[in-house]
């Protein structure tokens, strides 16, 4: 059973804290998707909250026929569209299919909604991450690339790299820690300027 489904079942059984974990896990992605519709970041946060509340209310009916994120994604875009309709603003003509929601590269579909500032920030971030990965030991860099860019499971990575799953887990953790450190430094530099 996937971690998401485990968390959903906990919510259905009365564990509200499990829903907090789902919010924390998907909030960035949901806000990102909604920003593609409503543009204003503050407004996007409000709509995202509404979407999560709707998801909580609908979660007793979630049976796991689709991935949780695909289900949540549909709720999010419907909430965003309803929000625009209520304010007599047209939803964007380009819509991202919910099946693409689980794809790692679906964000490209929403690029056209980015502002020049946000686009610059995203490019800068990507560059920082790229540099951070390049500075990692080869095994660690390979592990994080296979995981984040190719979407492989730990088991698949272990087979490709011919090492135990525990080693894969450890390498990915070290890579994340290093990338996180680089991001923090970039953030600190940005605040000082």
């Amino acid at each position: 059973m996937s971690v998401d489904l485990e968390l959903v079942q906990r919510v259905q059984a009365g564990d509200k804290k499990a829903f907090d974990v789902l919010i924390m896990k998907y909030q960035q992605r949901i806000v990102h998707v909604i920003t593609g519709f409503v543009h204003d970041p503050v407004e996007a946060l409000d709509v995202a909250q509404e979407a999560f509340i709707k998801a909580y209310r609908a979660i007793p009916n979630f049976r796991g026929d689709s991935a949780f994120y695909t289900w949540l994604y549909r709720i999010a875009i419907n909430t965003a569209k309803n929000h625009l309709t209520a304010r007599s603003r047209r939803p964007p003509a380009v819509d991202v299919d919910a099946m693409d929601a689980t794809n790692y590269y679906d964000a490209a579909e929403l690029k056209e909604f980015e502002t020049p500032e946000s686009s610059l920030a995203t490019d800068e971030l990507q560059m920082v991450i790229h540099q951070a990965i390049e500075s990692l030991p080869e095994d660690t860099a390979t592990a994080i690339k296979l995981r984040e860019l190719d979407g492989m499971s730990y088991e698949e990575i272990a087979q490709v790299m011919d090492c135990p799953i525990g080693t894969v887990r450890s390498r990915i953790f070290r890579a994340r820690e290093s990338i996180e450190q680089q991001i923090q430094e970039t953030m600190n530099e940005g605040e000082q300027q």
Binding site: S2, V3, D4, E6, V11, Q12, A13, G14, K16, K17, A18, F19, D20, V21, I23, M24, K25, Q27, Q28, R29, V31, H32, T35, L45, A48, Q49, F52, I53, Y56, R57, I59, P60, Y104, Y105, A107, A108, E114, S118, A121, T122, L125, Q126, I129, R147, E148, L149, S153, Y154, R169, S170, I172, F173, R176, E177, I179, E180, I183, T186, M187, G190
Partner: protein, 188 residues
Amino acid sequence: MTANHNELLSALVDGELQGKELELALNLIHTNDDARSQWQRFQRTSDIMHGHSLSLDNIDLTTLLSQRLSQEPIYSSASDDKTAKIFTFTKPIWKQAASLAVAASIGALAVVGVMNKPENQLIPITTQVAAVETTAAPIITAQNSKRWTVSEQDVEHRLDTYLVDHNEYTGASGVFSYARVVSYDEGQ
């Protein structure tokens, strides 16, 4: 927070935890603020790498939503339990089985008794006639045939007359009136 804990949180981002490890990681997130922040940072890094995040801003919807979620109901699997209770034995199984066995035995005895009883085991007609003779009132009895007969000729004749009159003067004509006359006695 140990390195091992951080490694667990990193694996949780990838959905690679199960059982006790998942339990431990979730417990850390719920009880330890450092663990919670660390997990959110790992999650954000992953989101940025996938292009799911446009900025470095830390979004924490859980804080914003906490009040609204506190007003929402807590779900339980009670609705499922209701369905389950329909099929749940309220008594111990052995008691249910014993009751069922007794009921089945009584049922079987009744069936066997009916099957062994001789056909048409009605009171012999001679006995009935004798009974009629001892009483003044006319008695209608069942014979071996399925027709009903009246034991006294006088009474039978009067009944026939009433029946014919009734059918003639009732005003209701048609199949049913005729059928009544015919069905009573072929001779009428």
